[in-house]
Symmetry: C2
Subunit: 103 residues, 2 copies
DNA sequence: AAGGAATATTCTTATAAAGGAATATTTAAA
DNA sequence: TTTAAATATTCCTTTATAAGAATATTCCTT
């Protein structure tokens, strides 16, 4: 999850959404230096959000749907939990208000 | 957003869900030291996720619904954006597959 | 007014993540 | 086989964040 928290990595993912890219292309588009791009790609790879396809001299990176879907469902469940708690909290506050009026 | 990324702070929010607490109570429940609790509460306060009500010697902390709702809707919109992109990506991949078969 | 809780703040230290520069590695091309 | 391009890796420095310890502040109690 922290993999996509980093702004540059999120940018990389957004860029890859338009299609596969080489490291150099990513570096150029995002105005980053090649070593940093490689580092970020490594993190994204280990998080299974991206996959590599070596093509001769170059390495083509593209999005890895499976991993992205897992992130998505994680966010979804996190949000549901969160929402339930908010609802409960609102009920609780309303209850307090009701009691105050009653006195 | 980074306010709730920190585990201890998330714990504090979860604890406060059961009702308002003083700093000492939070420290005791979560087995934390008082200064750290105060620091975390400060961050949560500045993020408007929590509010203080000084009661004599003590300070009662409770959840701040408005701020929590903002976080919730942020997560929601983030996820929607994310999901749309995943859908587009799937379409894209299916298109690729179709082309491959066609050849 | 003095002492003692409860809480906040300050200062220092520890740690993790990110960028920069240089270097290593792999592979194509000559 | 040597050279150059593309990429990865290593080492160092910087920065942000959290914890620890000590101290300051606030307010009640006596």
């Amino acid at each position: 999850m922290s993999a996509i928290a980093e702004p540059n990595r999120l940018n990389i993912i957004e860029l890859l959404h338009d299609g596969p890219c080489t490291v150099g292309e990513i570096a150029e588009q995002l105005r980053l230096r090649q070593p940093q791009v490689s580092k970020h790609l490594r993190v994204l790879c280990e998080a299974r959000l991206v996959e590599v396809h070596p093509m001769a001299n170059r390495r083509i990176y593209k999005l890895h749907v499976q991993g992205l879907k897992e992130i998505d469902s994680w966010i979804d469940s996190f949000r549901h939990l969160w929402e339930d708690r908010l609802d409960q909290l609102e009920d609780y506050l309303k209850e307090l208000q009701r009691k105050e009026k009653g006195e």
